[in-house]
């Protein structure tokens, strides 16, 4: 499938170089090295009904929507390759058709479908699994241009070595009976299918990978994905389940601190955690959240230059799990000391009767100073902060249900 977008409705991205930082921070570093002018931020918005690129001006005050791209497709993730600043990959399917990966090498002017999207191996005995959708996309290490990783539903890890054109299984875990048991059944997964997500490449070592499975726990590889080991010590599980069974572990979102890759943060089904490597036991830092709000949520966003600072957007995980903002009063919470204390940030957000929430891929940060924070809601609004969460403004509304928001930076 090849599609062409409306002429002139998006800017072309200038090349960005990759480094050992977050994608947004890599762009900023590259711009500084080139002596480029002020950056602009673009938000890559994936929704239940298509994708949008929301362009900000240099001051991040005015925003312009470019889209929809592939209207009607269920887009779970839209990601810019920070190594070239031009290649966009979108994980897409429709309600009726099978999954695919859509790919643009000209920053969204034209799109082509991957020649060989992620797919499991065929099993002659009929026991083989089928990819329902690709859920997560992660660009590979800075030293490996063209390499991408994808996580699917049901859980599978795939890799492309040709810039997203063809995909193959990235690990023996896709066919490993033990791993498949840990992945559980459709009944054990999220309401729209069990997921592999949070694929992280250590910026210091392309062989060092992490991923999360909902359900199935947190896993780490030191050999480029060939083999993985469990990383679930210290994590809570739903009362009544055995903690030592990875199948009942549900990490919602795992992030590495760009300024200290030995630090990981995690928003889990059962709390907020931090892990400082080489340690292997997670610490529940969400216990210091206000009791009335709790520490359940889906996303977690780490400051690109300060490993002690991260943000969460709690949701109501009481009783029957409404999955709304607690009491209809949404707020971001920030810690600036690695989770010892948290502060509420809600200036500008609805004060009451706002029952949306934010999915695991739908919050991100740019690398400006002060950094910008962005999140997209289940009710199609995008909220932005230019002051690290101190105040918020709605910059887009009436979009379809938002699945992912990624902030990227373009040269002036």
């Amino acid at each position: 499938m090849t599609t062409k977008k409306k002429p002139g409705s998006a800017t072309g991205g200038r090349g960005l170089r990759a480094g050992g930082e977050s994608p947004a921070q890599r762009g900023a570093t590259a711009r500084k090295a080139r002596g480029d002018g002020p950056a602009s931020t673009v938000l890559l918005v994936a929704t239940r009904k298509g994708a949008w690129l929301i362009h900000g001006d240099a001051a991040r005050r005015a925003w312009r929507a470019d889209g929809p791209h592939f209207l009607g497709h269920i887009v779970n993730h839209l990601v810019l390759d920070p190594r070239n600043g031009r290649t966009l990959l979108a994980a897409a399917k429709t309600g009726h058709l099978g999954p695919t990966v859509l790919r643009s090498t000209d920053f969204g002017k034209t799109w082509q479908e991957a020649k060989k999207p992620p797919a499991f191996a065929k099993k002659a005995d009929g026991s083989g699994r089928s990819v329902d959708h690709t859920f997560w996309l992660t660009p590979g290490h800075a030293s490996q241009p063209g390499v991408w990783y994808a996580g699917t539903s049901p859980q599978g890890l795939f890799r492309s070595d040709d810039d997203g054109l063809t995909w193959a299984s990235a690990s023996a875990i896709n066919d490993d009976p033990q791993y498949i048991a840990w992945m559980g059944t459709v009944q054990d997964g999220t309401p729209d299918g069990p997921k592999m997500h949070s694929i992280i490449v250590d910026p210091r070592d392309p062989q060092h990978l992490y991923f999360g499975m909902s359900g199935g726990g947190v896993h780490e590889s030191r050999d480029g994905g060939r083999t993985f080991s469990l990383l679930i010590d210290g994590l809570e599980v739903v009362e009544g389940f055995p903690k030592n069974d990875p199948a009942v572990h549900d990490p919602h979102c795992i992030r590495i601190a760009p300024s200290n890759p030995d630090r990981l943060y995690q928003q889990n089904h059962c709390g907020i955690y931090r892990l400082d490597r080489p340690g292997t036991t997670w610490t529940r830092i969400g216990r210091s959240m206000p009791k009335k709000v709790g520490d359940v949520g889906f996303n977690i966003t780490v400051h690109p230059r300060d490993a002690d600072t991260c943000w969460v957007l709690p949701m109501d995980g009481r009783t029957v799990w409404p999955r709304t903002s607690p009491d209809g009063r949404p707020a971001v919470y920030v810690t600036r000391n690695g989770g010892k204390t948290w502060q509420r940030q809600d200036r500008g957000l609805p004060a009451e009767q706002a029952w949306w929430t934010v999915k695991r891929q739908a919050m991100s940060a740019d690398a400006r100073d002060p950094i910008g924070l962005y999140f997209g809601t289940t009710q199609g609004e995008i909220w932005a902060s230019r002051d690290e969460g101190a105040s918020w403004r709605c910059i887009a509304r009436h979009l379809p249900e938002i699945y992912a928001v990624e902030a990227a930076e373009l040269g002036a």
Partner: protein, 85 residues
């Protein structure tokens, strides 16, 4: 033979009716994929199962069998299921 393409897949073919060759339903879909790369996987998964929301008719008769033989003059009609109301 003539193949009817459902509207969600016409981004590949740009037209409703196309020509494809093959002695079975599966072979016709293989040929379609050669002509329109990627189209087959949107209809048939990696375990060679027809996707849940697509239906295949040979002339007026629905089939769930990729190995179903086709005769000269048959038409393959690919239809998006009514699932979803």
């Amino acid at each position: 033979m003539r193949v009817l393409i459902p509207s969600p897949l016409r981004s590949y073919t740009r037209e409703a009716w196309v020509q494809a060759q093959g002695a079975t339903v599966g072979e016709v879909l293989d040929d379609l994929d050669r002509r329109y790369p990627g189209i087959r996987f949107r209809m048939i998964d990696e375990q060679q199962r027809m996707r849940r929301h697509l239906r295949f008719f040979v002339n007026d008769t629905q089939t769930f069998d990729l190995a179903q033989p086709l005769a000269e003059g048959d038409e393959l009609l690919i239809v998006q299921a009514l699932s979803g109301g």
